[in-house]
């Protein structure tokens, strides 16, 4: 005994969403069918439209339905600064934090040979060409502070070594508003090693 075939198919299809297991998928399917048909139709329609039209920005590889994203088209950006991030979500987080007026390059992932993700998949040839063409002065590596993110940062840094460009990495240290007592040892020792003179 199970749900009717079409309902079962919907439950299976919902499993493609990240973090959705059998029980959540069932709950979602029944919710949509019992109580949220209008929202469901809208979701189906927008999902199809987005999948058809959203591609990557030709300049920075972020997700956009236009050939070049609004940030890459904007005048306010300083094209001599280029911040390399792993995902479009990281790019948004950096933008929302403020304090950076340069451009971005979105890798859409990190190097992970075990998953078959090499330099090509991250568009690193494109990154190198962009650095040359736009006469970029500084590349800021803002990949995640994970093993894969660090490895990706090192790879890019080596790749750009022969070009007249400064390569920097986001600072490691204690998070603003954090409590020393609860910060892990790795972060604390990096914060100690990277200590700066007190601002006057």
């Amino acid at each position: 005994m199970a749900f009717s075939p079409l309902v079962e198919e919907l439950i299976t299809a919902l499993r493609c969403l990240p973090g959705v297991g059998p029980k959540s998928a069932q709950r979602m399917a029944l919710h949509l069918l019992e109580r949220e048909r209008e929202g469901g139709f809208r979701l189906a329609e927008i999902l199809e439209r987005a999948l058809e039209h959203v591609g990557q920005c030709q300049e920075c590889r972020t997700l956009t339905e236009e050939p070049v994203c609004s940030l890459c088209r904007s005048e306010r950006c300083n094209s001599e600064l280029l911040c390399v991030v792993e995902t479009p979500a990281d790019q948004i987080a950096m933008e929302q934090a403020g304090g950076f007026d340069g451009r971005y390059f979105v890798l859409t992932g990190h190097l992970s040979p075990i998953d078959g993700i090499g330099p090509d998949a991250l568009g690193l040839d494109h990154l190198e060409a962009k650095v040359r063409r736009d006469l970029v002065k500084e590349v800021i590596l803002a990949t995640n502070p994970t093993v894969e993110g660090e490895a990706t940062a090192h790879y890019i840094s080596e790749m750009l070594q022969h070009l007249p460009v400064t390569v920097t990495r986001l600072a490691h240290g204690i998070p603003v508003g954090g409590e020393l007592e609860y910060i892990d040892g790795g972060t604390l020792s990096r914060a100690m090693a990277g200590r700066l003179p007190m601002a006057k």
Copy 2:
């Protein structure tokens, strides 16, 4: 600064799923666009098809794409027994537990005057007509053991009072495999009140 308009629209549309907040919706949208386009297209297609074709069974009101669901059509069911549940998921749970060979009636909710859900929304007139027509001998009320579920069970019990039908309620007691120490007082006192002679 935000995602491109179409990506933002997709994030908003995903919020109609239960338990999905802004961060999960963003994660789902990016996952679908970056890594799961095929699954996304399949989801959009099946979602639309299910919303168009899945309706309620004319007999038991469960979700099905056919006029009458497979359970109501099946021969094995004893039409003298009718089990009333709140949702299609409850019906599946009862069926998977086994031990019941009668038919079901799915309320698709419980009485909740504050949300405007009255007897009509639960198809209670349909339930009464079905009990009469099928010459049902016993109606088993399997609504949830919550305040609303109990209230719904009482309402249905009163409604059927004048008919020649036995109305029963699922037994309350300690769950099989549970540890007494961790069972709440309400359940324990119901288990004590409902104690049965030891099977020999």
